[in-house]
Symmetry: C3
Subunit: 392 residues, 3 copies
Amino acid sequence: MALSALSACIMDDNLSGLRSSGSSFSKYYGGHYETCSPSSIKCKHLSSVGPLRTFHSTNSIYRSGIKCHSVTEKRFPYSAGKKFGLDNVIEAQQFDRDILNEIFKVACEMESIEKNSSGSKMLRGFLMATLFYEPSTRTRLSFESAMKRLGGEVLTTENAREFSSAAKGETLEDTIRTVEGYSDIIVMRHFESGAARRAASTATIPVINAGDGPGQHPTQALLDVYTIEREIGRLDGIRLGLVGDLANGRTVRSLAYLIAKYQDIKIYFVSPDVVKMKDDIKVYLTSQGVEWEESTDLLQVASKCDVIYQTRIQRERFGERIDLYEAARGKYIVDQRVLSVMPKHAVVMHPLPRLDEITVEVDADPRAAYFRQVKNGLYIRMAILKLLLLGW
Amino acid sequence: MALSALSACIMDDNLSGLRSSGSSFSKYYGGHYETCSPSSIKCKHLSSVGPLRTFHSTNSIYRSGIKCHSVTEKRFPYSAGKKFGLDNVIEAQQFDRDILNEIFKVACEMESIEKNSSGSKMLRGFLMATLFYEPSTRTRLSFESAMKRLGGEVLTTENAREFSSAAKGETLEDTIRTVEGYSDIIVMRHFESGAARRAASTATIPVINAGDGPGQHPTQALLDVYTIEREIGRLDGIRLGLVGDLANGRTVRSLAYLIAKYQDIKIYFVSPDVVKMKDDIKVYLTSQGVEWEESTDLLQVASKCDVIYQTRIQRERFGERIDLYEAARGKYIVDQRVLSVMPKHAVVMHPLPRLDEITVEVDADPRAAYFRQVKNGLYIRMAILKLLLLGW
Amino acid sequence: MALSALSACIMDDNLSGLRSSGSSFSKYYGGHYETCSPSSIKCKHLSSVGPLRTFHSTNSIYRSGIKCHSVTEKRFPYSAGKKFGLDNVIEAQQFDRDILNEIFKVACEMESIEKNSSGSKMLRGFLMATLFYEPSTRTRLSFESAMKRLGGEVLTTENAREFSSAAKGETLEDTIRTVEGYSDIIVMRHFESGAARRAASTATIPVINAGDGPGQHPTQALLDVYTIEREIGRLDGIRLGLVGDLANGRTVRSLAYLIAKYQDIKIYFVSPDVVKMKDDIKVYLTSQGVEWEESTDLLQVASKCDVIYQTRIQRERFGERIDLYEAARGKYIVDQRVLSVMPKHAVVMHPLPRLDEITVEVDADPRAAYFRQVKNGLYIRMAILKLLLLGW
């Protein structure tokens, strides 16, 4: 089986490059569903060139150390086939500095792949299921664009709650066992913290967490750090100003967590009192030897930082207290005055959507990086999809 | 026209195999919309190699006896081109034993096609419209995965009611005439029994019924019978236990209907009194010489059966009488005890989603066939799409 | 960069024709996002063969006079590469008689492209985003079918309001800057008149207006005029009867506007008093030297016209006054009697959906053109997509 699939793909290579390689790979991978235990699938690359080895399945999101390269290296010019350290992308804690740097290298390859035709067939024959238990059009389109830019196909659902509607009451685990039969990788958005991890421990195919409630949104965290590196040119020695809703902002918390992995970082927290950064992150930063301080003077912080990361004050967090919301949202605005004190090399970032916490006049300044940040999200997701489906 | 289309496709074959064959076929097929009457399209294969013959269109879902093979046989290795006995898939009554066996052969081909790359371009250039008047994410994803695994493309709508909203009041017939202009095959889910047949009698392209209200869901019936054959190795001489909601369960009714086409079948009905199997099916089974009996002892039935087909007690059927629902749902559970009396070769099936009528502990037992059953649904739908669009 | 992209595409041409040309083009186009100003992208064809020229960006929807042909002419047999006069399709006013005739030529090419395989790869590698702020399944499926028939891919959202939900309050401009990072062309449906123009003035990729509230729906207007030419064989000297809701019908107003560009046109308005054609159009027609008159005698008008364009009386316009609605909707019906007085060469058109303003008995008459009109919408949209993405 393995051989026939491979010869088929090699034959096809002569005609149209990588197209059917990806295809055959996916099919072959699919072929495992009946013939081996979930855990063995985690080593699909190996099994395509040798006898099938199964090992006990665990909830761990780290793959066994087995090398899986011989065939795929032939088939993919861009360092494909070497094992990727992760089977799933569930939370920022998975990533150490080395993996981050390697992911960013691939993301950078993706920028040039998007610019020429050769990359567009890399994932041909692979099928991604976007399983969204709550709609998030922005995130969904970013993942679907990433998959299609690489030649892959997509199955979409934004009303995944039907799978597990109160009326029917199917478990997430059963839903995952169903969807994994239809696809090669699952991108899941869920309203419950921890749902992505549960899905990953059930699934025999890779799972990417596209946000699980108040929990994690790891690809957002990756694209934020990637953007800092692309814009400033380094990640060590960064002066970072986090502005706005630091209490509820999932993105600023993850960013603080990830940037702490680098050397000589200084973080300034600038936020209204009602939405201050919580102690858990402060304690963590201190334990990592990251300097931080709180400030109420955005201009002074802006004059010292490489990156001003502005966030939206989320009205929904204030309930009836519209007065508190109005007070908070007006307090720290990034505008012409802030730009005027910022260093030439510094940038303004924002996870979007924005209201008026960054004035429209700022958009025209080359230091406004937030729309480039959106594009970096595409490259990061292209990289993650490639790495999970094909390896390095 | 026919010739140019064919030469185009042959030329293209030299480059990349079947891709553009499918494509040209679809286009040429599409080309008929203006130039011939709906009924003549039913013979698209013939018309692509000879002068166009039109014949009177009828509501019959059986195709005229004209052979349609000469070209396509060249173009498809897997027995393509011989006429397929059906133009549409509307209801279980369409299928006789011979057609079932032939469909299952193709479904089995699909398992290996999914495992290698060659099959993935079979339907390239074909466009499937999923026209869902009520959402059914599970069924929709299964059909869309089947189409994309074969290289076809999909147009999706889960809010087809807009086409015919009360406000606008368009007829189903008008909607079908619109959608058939955009696609090559229609997969329709509707809330009204008989809607699929109405659509098929209007459409000039194949229509697949993906469930019409309390009516039919023929591909579910096909995948159930296919799963029995794959799991037990035969369809004659089967001992089948139908458990749960037999009064309202569309799937058990269709399954009983189809399995009756085989020899030496014995069926056991195990259900709470409030949701007993209705007389119409009992009378039909008797008329077909199928032995059946009702039982209240699940363990005893389980010890004698090849297949235990469990179903969900549907709360929505009980209205205010939650007490009756609770009594019914707890009555017959497939658990470790049931497994312990089942023969080694026997299997447990379930159309899914399940609540607790099968306990999670059962999942680990190799006789738990319900997730393999899901995967068989993909192969059956791949087979049906291939047969309706390309013939045998 | 340009050269490597081009050589890549030429290399690929040897293997599989236009496929990757489109692909590389899209990628290369995408490649501009970082490296040049929005306005320069408007000249993407030029920039792919010469040094990048940027010029001041304006809200004008007319492209600079720079020729953009040298490379693409090689790559596309069907007159591709010559500059297309428009960057976006926003409103009927964009089209003069020459552009209309050229669009119709391409739409006619599309009919034959749909009939054979060669065209299906024309837009391979291009990604269209359907950004719908209100659902319109009919229009969405028509555009998505057009894109996929040409080998392009689609990102779909029917709940675009989430992008700019009241809760989040993102501006349309920010949404467009996000989506343009994921795709190569945007098809937008919006509830606000003028939204499409705002989107186009922000976007660095082409925008197509798929209807903006009471405003414009230019592709509907194009397909109506195209259908008249295809059915009657000419556009000069047409006798056109507009029937039904002329006050609120966006389509009849646009049609009257466009047909006025041709010679010797005579228009008859036949409508209930409550929904008469408004004066602005009457004044415009007179200023263009178009003869028009109002009539209450549908039979007499039908006996003199080449085209009877029937429209639906829109109940939603009558609020509480159901009595007025009922009176209006029953007044002018196209039925057997109307057919009996119509010339043999004349046709009945309707934008659909229809209720009973055209009786079902009319469908069987060869002069019933409304379902061919739907198909023409597909060809027009294929043409517009090809022209905006590849040029002539």
